[in-house]
Amino acid sequence: MKKIKMYTLSTCLWCKRTKKFFEERKIPFEAVDYDKVDEQEQERIMAEMREKGGGGSFPYVCIGSDVVQGYEPDEFERLLDCEKK
Protein backbone atom coordinates (compact mmCIF):
# COMPACT_ATOMS: atom_id res chain seq x y z
CA MET A 1 0.00 0.00 0.00
CA LYS A 2 1.30 3.44 -0.89
CA LYS A 3 2.30 5.59 2.03
CA ILE A 4 0.12 8.68 2.38
CA LYS A 5 1.55 11.74 4.06
CA MET A 6 0.07 15.22 4.06
CA TYR A 7 0.97 18.68 5.23
CA THR A 8 -2.02 20.71 6.33
CA LEU A 9 -3.06 23.83 8.21
CA SER A 10 -5.42 23.60 11.17
CA THR A 11 -7.34 26.60 9.75
CA CYS A 12 -7.74 25.23 6.23
CA LEU A 13 -11.14 24.09 4.97
CA TRP A 14 -9.69 22.01 2.12
CA CYS A 15 -7.24 20.31 4.44
CA LYS A 16 -10.17 19.17 6.57
CA ARG A 17 -11.96 17.86 3.49
CA THR A 18 -8.82 16.07 2.35
CA LYS A 19 -8.48 14.31 5.69
CA LYS A 20 -12.16 13.41 5.57
CA PHE A 21 -11.72 11.91 2.10
CA PHE A 22 -9.13 9.42 3.36
CA GLU A 23 -10.89 8.79 6.68
CA GLU A 24 -14.15 7.89 4.92
CA ARG A 25 -12.29 5.33 2.84
CA LYS A 26 -10.51 4.02 5.90
CA ILE A 27 -7.16 4.71 4.27
CA PRO A 28 -4.46 5.39 6.85
CA PHE A 29 -2.46 8.58 6.49
CA GLU A 30 0.01 10.71 8.35
CA ALA A 31 -0.90 14.41 8.65
CA VAL A 32 1.20 17.25 10.02
CA ASP A 33 -0.37 20.65 10.71
CA TYR A 34 2.25 23.15 9.55
CA ASP A 35 0.91 25.83 11.89
CA LYS A 36 1.19 23.55 14.92
CA VAL A 37 4.86 22.61 14.61
CA ASP A 38 7.88 24.65 15.67
CA GLU A 39 9.69 27.12 13.43
CA GLN A 40 12.50 24.73 12.57
CA GLU A 41 10.07 22.06 11.43
CA GLN A 42 8.10 24.66 9.46
CA GLU A 43 11.26 25.60 7.59
CA ARG A 44 11.94 21.95 6.82
CA ILE A 45 8.39 21.39 5.56
CA MET A 46 8.49 24.53 3.41
CA ALA A 47 11.83 23.49 1.93
CA GLU A 48 10.41 20.06 1.10
CA MET A 49 7.31 21.57 -0.52
CA ARG A 50 9.36 24.05 -2.52
CA GLU A 51 11.80 21.39 -3.66
CA LYS A 52 8.92 19.50 -5.24
CA GLY A 53 7.67 22.63 -6.98
CA GLY A 54 4.91 23.60 -4.56
CA GLY A 55 4.65 26.89 -2.73
CA GLY A 56 2.99 27.47 0.60
CA SER A 57 -0.51 26.46 -0.46
CA PHE A 58 -2.24 23.72 1.52
CA PRO A 59 -3.20 20.88 1.59
CA TYR A 60 -0.08 19.18 0.26
CA VAL A 61 -0.64 15.46 -0.15
CA CYS A 62 1.98 12.83 -0.95
CA ILE A 63 0.55 9.55 -2.25
CA GLY A 64 3.54 7.29 -2.65
CA SER A 65 5.95 9.30 -4.78
CA ASP A 66 3.20 11.49 -6.27
CA VAL A 67 2.26 14.88 -4.91
CA VAL A 68 -1.15 16.55 -5.08
CA GLN A 69 -1.41 20.13 -3.94
CA GLY A 70 -4.97 21.17 -3.18
CA TYR A 71 -8.17 19.24 -2.54
CA GLU A 72 -8.42 17.06 -5.64
CA PRO A 73 -10.67 14.04 -4.90
CA ASP A 74 -10.53 12.82 -8.52
CA GLU A 75 -6.76 12.91 -8.46
CA PHE A 76 -6.66 11.17 -5.07
CA GLU A 77 -8.92 8.42 -6.51
CA ARG A 78 -6.79 8.10 -9.63
CA LEU A 79 -3.56 7.71 -7.70
CA LEU A 80 -5.16 5.23 -5.29
CA ASP A 81 -6.66 3.28 -8.22
CA CYS A 82 -3.26 3.10 -9.93
CA GLU A 83 -2.10 1.12 -6.97
CA LYS A 84 -4.91 -1.46 -7.25
CA LYS A 85 -4.16 -2.20 -10.93
Binding site: T11, C12, L13, W14, D35, Q42, G53, G56, S57, F58
Partner: protein, 114 residues
Protein backbone atom coordinates in the same frame (compact mmCIF):
# COMPACT_ATOMS: atom_id res chain seq x y z
CA UNK B 1 -13.90 42.46 19.62
CA UNK B 2 -15.57 39.09 19.59
CA UNK B 3 -15.10 36.76 16.65
CA UNK B 4 -18.68 37.05 15.35
CA UNK B 5 -18.50 40.85 15.28
CA UNK B 6 -15.11 40.74 13.59
CA UNK B 7 -16.40 38.33 10.91
CA UNK B 8 -19.09 40.87 10.10
CA UNK B 9 -16.51 43.66 10.03
CA UNK B 10 -14.24 41.70 7.68
CA UNK B 11 -17.19 41.09 5.35
CA UNK B 12 -17.94 44.80 5.40
CA UNK B 13 -14.31 45.70 4.65
CA UNK B 14 -13.66 43.10 1.96
CA UNK B 15 -16.94 43.10 -0.01
CA UNK B 16 -16.30 46.40 -1.87
CA UNK B 17 -12.67 45.45 -2.58
CA UNK B 18 -13.39 42.08 -4.14
CA UNK B 19 -16.38 43.52 -6.01
CA UNK B 20 -14.03 45.85 -7.88
CA UNK B 21 -11.79 42.88 -8.66
CA UNK B 22 -14.68 40.88 -10.17
CA UNK B 23 -15.23 38.57 -7.20
CA UNK B 24 -17.89 37.99 -4.55
CA UNK B 25 -18.10 36.08 -1.29
CA UNK B 26 -18.56 32.35 -1.76
CA UNK B 27 -22.34 31.78 -1.93
CA UNK B 28 -21.87 28.53 0.04
CA UNK B 29 -22.60 30.28 3.32
CA UNK B 30 -21.23 27.54 5.53
CA UNK B 31 -17.86 27.54 3.76
CA UNK B 32 -17.59 31.34 3.73
CA UNK B 33 -18.48 31.49 7.41
CA UNK B 34 -15.89 28.85 8.34
CA UNK B 35 -13.15 30.64 6.39
CA UNK B 36 -14.03 34.04 7.84
CA UNK B 37 -13.96 32.57 11.30
CA UNK B 38 -10.45 31.23 10.71
CA UNK B 39 -9.33 34.64 9.43
CA UNK B 40 -10.82 36.43 12.41
CA UNK B 41 -8.99 33.92 14.63
CA UNK B 42 -5.69 34.49 12.84
CA UNK B 43 -6.20 38.24 13.14
CA UNK B 44 -6.80 37.89 16.86
CA UNK B 45 -3.68 35.74 17.16
CA UNK B 46 -1.24 37.76 15.06
CA UNK B 47 -2.97 41.02 14.21
CA UNK B 48 -3.43 40.28 10.52
CA UNK B 49 -6.24 38.38 8.72
CA UNK B 50 -4.08 35.96 6.78
CA UNK B 51 -5.40 33.41 4.31
CA UNK B 52 -6.26 30.32 6.35
CA UNK B 53 -5.06 27.96 3.60
CA UNK B 54 -1.62 29.38 2.84
CA UNK B 55 1.50 29.24 5.00
CA UNK B 56 3.26 32.10 6.68
CA UNK B 57 7.03 32.14 6.80
CA UNK B 58 9.61 34.50 8.31
CA UNK B 59 9.59 36.58 5.12
CA UNK B 60 7.36 39.66 5.60
CA UNK B 61 7.17 40.46 1.88
CA UNK B 62 5.91 36.93 1.18
CA UNK B 63 3.49 37.02 4.10
CA UNK B 64 1.95 40.29 2.92
CA UNK B 65 0.95 38.53 -0.30
CA UNK B 66 -1.34 36.20 1.63
CA UNK B 67 -3.23 38.81 3.63
CA UNK B 68 -6.90 38.57 2.75
CA UNK B 69 -8.10 39.46 0.19
CA UNK B 70 -4.92 38.30 -1.52
CA UNK B 71 -6.44 38.30 -5.03
CA UNK B 72 -4.28 41.22 -6.32
CA UNK B 73 -1.10 39.21 -5.71
CA UNK B 74 -2.26 35.99 -7.38
CA UNK B 75 -4.62 37.43 -9.96
CA UNK B 76 -3.87 35.31 -13.02
CA UNK B 77 -3.85 32.10 -10.98
CA UNK B 78 -7.10 32.88 -9.16
CA UNK B 79 -8.82 34.10 -12.32
CA UNK B 80 -7.93 30.77 -13.95
CA UNK B 81 -9.61 28.92 -11.04
CA UNK B 82 -12.48 31.47 -10.81
CA UNK B 83 -11.85 31.44 -7.05
CA UNK B 84 -9.16 32.36 -4.58
CA UNK B 85 -7.09 29.54 -3.12
CA UNK B 86 -9.08 29.17 0.11
CA UNK B 87 -12.39 29.70 -1.71
CA UNK B 88 -13.65 32.60 0.38
CA UNK B 89 -14.14 34.50 -2.88
CA UNK B 90 -15.33 33.32 -6.27
CA UNK B 91 -15.85 35.07 -9.59
CA UNK B 92 -19.13 37.01 -9.70
CA UNK B 93 -20.54 34.73 -12.40
CA UNK B 94 -20.04 31.54 -10.37
CA UNK B 95 -23.33 30.00 -9.22
CA UNK B 96 -22.07 26.59 -8.12
CA UNK B 97 -18.68 26.90 -6.40
CA UNK B 98 -18.53 23.14 -5.72
CA UNK B 99 -17.58 22.67 -9.38
CA UNK B 100 -14.47 24.83 -9.05
CA UNK B 101 -11.13 23.13 -8.57
CA UNK B 102 -7.95 24.15 -6.85
CA UNK B 103 -5.26 24.38 -9.50
CA UNK B 104 -1.84 23.90 -7.87
CA UNK B 105 0.23 27.08 -8.19
CA UNK B 106 3.22 25.30 -9.70
CA UNK B 107 1.04 23.75 -12.41
CA UNK B 108 -0.48 27.12 -13.23
CA UNK B 109 2.70 29.17 -13.18
CA UNK B 110 4.66 26.33 -14.76
CA UNK B 111 2.36 26.53 -17.77
CA UNK B 112 2.62 30.27 -17.87
CA UNK B 113 6.34 30.83 -17.56
CA UNK B 114 7.52 32.92 -20.48
Amino acid sequence: MNIEARKKALRFLFAPIVDKLGYKFNPEEEDADFLLEQEAGLERQCGIPYCPCQARTKDRAENMKIVCPCIPFHRAHFDAMKRCWCGLFVHKDVLDPSKLKQLPPDKFYGKNVH
